[in-house]
């Protein structure tokens, strides 16, 4: 019996480890541009993502200050005036991929992705579609959803209101590898 227990413990540990896929260099992009004005968009290339292939549980986080803008001054104002990055340095997502079955991902497939996005201490429920493909030993997850500044109590002063879109498009592109 002892042998059996040992074997069980061992196998659970092994299987627990092999179910985790992750990345530290995920790309998260947002666009809040309004046509005819200076583009308001930035890319974060150091998003950390973790996915449990057995359950479809997914979590992601990124540092707001790591969003790179084309114009340095815009990046400074984004952090200082809109996102309060000193006070709220991270954005965190915690969610589930519905009916995720790891054996199916050999082909490109769309799944319902839902969860909670926490930004500036405010939580918002996100429901969207994620495309998941297996490329060699990498899982490629991409998705797109929209948010609005007021969802997270981001105040936009009158003088720039025309230059910042009311709907902000967020695009995700994550290449996950197995965590060993």
């Amino acid at each position: 019996m002892k042998k059996v227990l040992f074997f069980l413990f061992f196998s659970v540990t092994i299987s627990g480890a092999s179910q985790t896929y992750f990345t530290r260099t995920g790309t998260t992009n947002f666009k809040a541009s309004v046509t005819a004005f200076e583009p308001v968009e930035a890319t974060n290339k150091s998003t950390t993502v973790i996915l449990k292939t057995s359950t479809g549980a997914i979590a992601a986080q990124l540092f707001i200050t790591a969003f790179q803008f084309r114009v340095a001054l815009m990046q400074e104002h984004f952090n200082e005036n809109y996102m309060d990055s000193n006070k709220y340095p991270k954005a965190v997502f915690r969610g589930e991929i519905a009916d995720f079955n790891f054996t199916e991902v050999n082909t490109k497939k769309e799944y319902a992705l839902s969860g909670t996005l926490t930004l500036r201490g405010v939580k918002k429920q996100i429901n969207t579609i994620a495309t998941i493909t297996l490329d060699g030993d990498k899982i490629i997850l991409s998705s797109r959803f929209t948010v609005a500044p007021q969802d997270f109590d981001i105040a936009i002063p009158k003088i720039v209101r025309k230059k910042i879109a009311e709907t902000i498009y967020i695009t995700l592109n994550y290449e996950l590898v197995e965590k060993k």
Partner: protein
């Protein structure tokens, strides 16, 4: 693959594993966030800039134009507010400085300016040496400037050489954003004045050492109260000049920063205000001034 392995095992074991896994996965709700934190890189993250503009008031801040950014600085220093209605509180006697700031390389900014006081042409360089981050506590920059006084007339001073028109300043700017709202700056400075009027400075002191202090306190996201001061170690007690003290505010509106200030120095150039601040706060001889900063 995990699944194919399981199939080969005894069915009872499989059920047991499933039971165990379900316990594990219940716990996994919170563990997932912990695991995420564990794999997150301990990356160096830079602190947001300590100051909004390249100047605190008169003193240079550690801010440096980003590569490719062009800034236009227009500064005015009016006459003494003590003049009252005679000059409309100094508004009739304005010193105007127009300056262009550009960065060709990341962390290095160059500037050129012309000021009406003493018809001064100035060029300056500011170089970033360190940036405050999770792994280093301070912003450090070097600032150097050379000024040409074009107002000196050879007719009145026959022995005048070109070198006599020159004055220089070199500073180390060391700042720290201590909290989200409060930033502090120290500026050990050296000033070289090639020409001095002994009637004004009492005794010649061509080489001067100073310590500059500056700070800003944000009162809202886009407004801050600023102050800077410099103590001159080499000034003769009989000199007519004083140490410069500037109190002002920043008002940021996207692409502009308006800096409104009161100071006892007329010049906006470092050798000018560090050596030759002609006003005196204790006597009420102070000047209203502003800097308008526009980025292109």
């Amino acid at each position: 693959m995990y699944y194919s392995k399981v199939k080969n095992r005894n069915r009872n074991y499989f059920l047991l594993i499933c039971a165990l896994l379900s316990v594990v996965s219940l716990k996994a709700q919170d563990d997932l966030m912990e695991e995420l934190n564990d794999i997150s890189k301990a990356e160096t993250r830079f602190e947001l800039p300590a100051f909004k503009a390249m100047k605190i008031g008169n003193l240079q801040s550690t801010k440096i134009a980003a590569k490719g950014d062009l800034y236009l600085y227009v500064s005015h220093r009016f006459g003494s507010v003590k003049d009252g209605f005679e000059t409309f509180f100094g508004l009739d006697n304005a010193n105007t400085n127009i300056q262009l700031v550009y960065s060709f390389w990341d962390g290095i900014q160059l500037s050129a300016s012309r000021e009406s006081l003493n018809q001064t042409y100035a060029s300056a360089i500011k170089i970033r040496l360190a940036k405050q981050s999770t792994s280093f506590p301070l912003n450090i920059a070097f600032y150097g400037t050379a000024n040409v006084n074009a107002a000196l007339e050879k007719d009145r001073m026959p022995d005048l050489q070109f070198g006599d028109r020159m004055s220089y300043a070199a500073q180390f700017l060391i700042s720290k954003r201590i909290s989200e709202k409060f930033s502090f700056l120290l500026a050990p400075s050296y000033v070289r004045q090639n020409l001095q009027d002994l009637n004004e400075v009492a005794a010649a002191n061509h080489n001067q050492l100073l310590m500059g202090f500056g700070g800003r306190m944000k009162v809202s996201k886009r407004v801050s109260i600023n102050m800077d001061y410099a103590y001159n170690f080499n000034r003769n007690t009989h000199s007519i000049y004083n140490n410069p003290l500037t109190i002002g505010m920043d008002l940021e509106t996207g692409g502009h920063v308006f800096q409104l200030l009161f100071t006892n120095a007329q010049s906006t150039n470092e050798p000018g205000f560090l050596s030759n601040a002609e006003g005196d706060w204790s006597e009420g001889i102070i000047f209203l001034g502003f800097n308008v900063v526009r980025v292109f």
